[in-house]
């Protein structure tokens, strides 16, 4: 059994995912260290969200394994992976529509950890997180009545309620005003200070380059380039991928 060597936060080994005879992910391997902020970029359909789905346990890969803090979590059910410390937000926000903001976050607090590690003051924790994302004034509003950006913030609070060590943020900047994006950047930096490791998917390259330590570029289910933001964004492969031209490997 090949276990992870040193205590990285997340490791993917040769992950492959198939959808109806199409490869959504092909032999993807990557490592994310503790308290790193890594962004995954790539054109539409590159497999970014699929990658997140595999890490969180929503999707089981056809091949390969996922290691979280040295543990093989590949076949674990999603809720168990959450208990271990992985949380995520969704590309299109999906809060529990009929529940209030407070109730949404409480679900995260109540169920995010196993019984032994459960919080003694769930309501207080929930309120603190709601305050962190700036939704205190809407604590008792039903989630379905929130604006899109408010729903996104709710998702972040809810994900944080599960006390994750690794947070996967899927397109938090989409549709936000420049001011809101600035706030999002600050939030992500605060998260690292709280000890979290963060993985981002975002099309808004200005955001990702500002906040990430490293960029991983995906195209057609494969990693084409990874490195620091400057290198990656200027690399020929990434430019070509975004322009839609097909590149041959070993260019």
């Amino acid at each position: 059994m090949a276990a992870a060597t040193h205590k990285s936060c997340l490791e993917l080994h040769h992950i492959s995912v198939q959808f109806e005879r199409q490869s959504a992910l092909r032999d993807v391997s990557l490592v994310v260290e503790e308290q790193e902020i890594v962004s995954v970029i790539g054109p539409n359909g590159a497999g970014k969200t699929t990658l997140f789905n595999v890490i969180c346990g929503q999707l089981k890969p056809a091949e390969g394994s996922v290691y979280f803090k040295g543990c093989d979590i590949t076949l674990w059910p999603a809720h168990r992976i959450c208990h271990a410390g992985v949380a995520r937000t969704f590309q299109i926000a999906r809060p529990f529509p009929e529940m209030s903001v407070l109730e949404n976050v409480l679900i995260g607090v109540w169920f995010g950890k196993k019984k032994q590690q459960r919080s003694l003051f769930p309501a207080e924790e929930a309120k603190e997180l709601i305050h962190l994302v700036g939704l205190s004034h809407k604590s008792h509003s039903a989630a379905k009545h929130l604006t899109l950006s408010e729903q996104r913030r709710l998702e972040v609070a809810r994900a944080l309620a599960t006390k994750p060590r690794l947070l996967l943020l899927d397109e938090i900047a989409a549709g936000l005003s420049p001011q809101a994006i600035k706030e999002a950047v600050e939030l992500v930096k605060t998260l690292r200070k709280r000890g979290l490791t963060v993985m981002l998917i975002d099309h808004f390259l200005a955001l990702t380059s500002k906040v990430s330590d490293r960029l991983i570029a995906l195209d057609q289910g494969e990693i084409i380039v990874e490195g620091n933001p400057g290198e990656v964004l200027q690399s020929a492969e990434v430019v070509a991928a975004y322009l839609g031209e097909r590149q041959q490997k070993g260019f």
Binding site: E20, R21, Q22, G45
Partner: protein, 288 residues
């Protein structure tokens, strides 16, 4: 030979099954509305044909267009009713039409009572004594009408412009809408054509089996089984599915006896639901 007779019966029955399924498959394919009252609507058409034949002395041939027209109207009305249904559409239409099935069942119970009724054929059957085969007039009508209807629908879907639009909507509603197809109108047309097919099936049903208010669920189940088996938009698959089911049921009835027939249908349905859990996926995958 018994085998030949069985095969003949199975084919005539199977072709009828295909006709029963056709209306359901078209409506579901285009609109994703699950019409659990499908069988009851067929019964309604059958009862209408019975009344027309009995009270108005209408020859059987003329009851067919009358029933087709009537059920066309009923189906379009149903489409209007289902327009108010909220998400999740499939499940909610299923429950609403479940209620409709109850309404129709009891309505027919009130109007026609629980007596068994049937439209009897006066024509004598054809006998092929050398092959020990009996072919009734009804079976000929059944076989020919079902095949005619299936071929007509096939031609409609494959060769006409409207058919192309319908097929596009079946494959991918959103893409069809973006391509400029009026999907709302497609839905009405689907219900209308479905209604015509249901209307056609009714009188035929009344000729082969006894009409009884509680008999609808069987027809609905058959329609659903064949639709799932065939996959959406595959007319040939429906005909094949109809024949396969006809053969399977005839065999089961012969080997196990009548009492086990519903169990066979139920197990078939469950198996199909499990094998194709997404239910009914267009064969051609949408390229994302």
């Amino acid at each position: 030979m018994i085998l030949l007779q069985l095969i003949l019966n199975a084919f005539s029955l199977g072709s009828f099954y295909a006709l029963v399924a056709l209306g359901f498959a078209l409506i579901f394919g285009v609109t994703h509305a699950f019409n659990l009252a499908h069988g009851e609507m067929i019964l309604l058409s059958g009862y209408l044909a019975y009344i027309l034949g009995k009270q108005l002395q209408l020859p059987f041939v003329w009851t067919l267009p009358a029933c087709m027209l009537f059920l066309l109207l009923v189906a379009v009305l149903l489409h209007e009713l289902l327009g108010r249904v909220k998400e999740p559409y499939e499940l909610n239409t299923l429950v609403v039409t479940f209620g409709l099935a109850l309404v129709l069942q009891n309505g027919m119970l009130i109007c026609f009572s629980a007596d068994y009724r049937m439209i009897h054929s006066s024509a004598s059957p054809f006998e092929f004594s050398t092959l020990h085969l009996i072919l009734t007039q009804t079976q000929i009508t059944l076989l020919s009408t079902s095949l005619l209807a299936t071929i007509s629908v096939y031609i409609l879907l494959r060769k006409s412009f409207l058919g192309k639009a319908l097929r596009a909507t079946i494959q991918d509603r959103e893409a069809a809408r973006l391509a400029g197809i009026n999907v709302g109108r497609m839905s009405v047309i689907a219900f209308a054509v479905g209604g015509v097919l249901i209307g056609l099936a009714g009188p035929l049903y009344a000729r082969t089996a006894y009409l009884h208010p509680y008999g609808g669920i069987e027809a609905t189940l058959i329609a659903i089984i064949i639709t799932i088996f065939a996959g959406v938009g595959r007319i040939r698959g429906i005909l094949l599915g109809g024949w396969a089911l006809g053969i399977a049921e005839s065999l089961a009835a012969y080997a196990l006896g009548i009492g086990w027939r519903e169990l066979v249908s139920a197990l078939l349905l469950i198996t199909l639901l499990l094998l194709r859990p997404e239910g009914i996926i267009p064969r051609r995958m949408r390229q994302s």
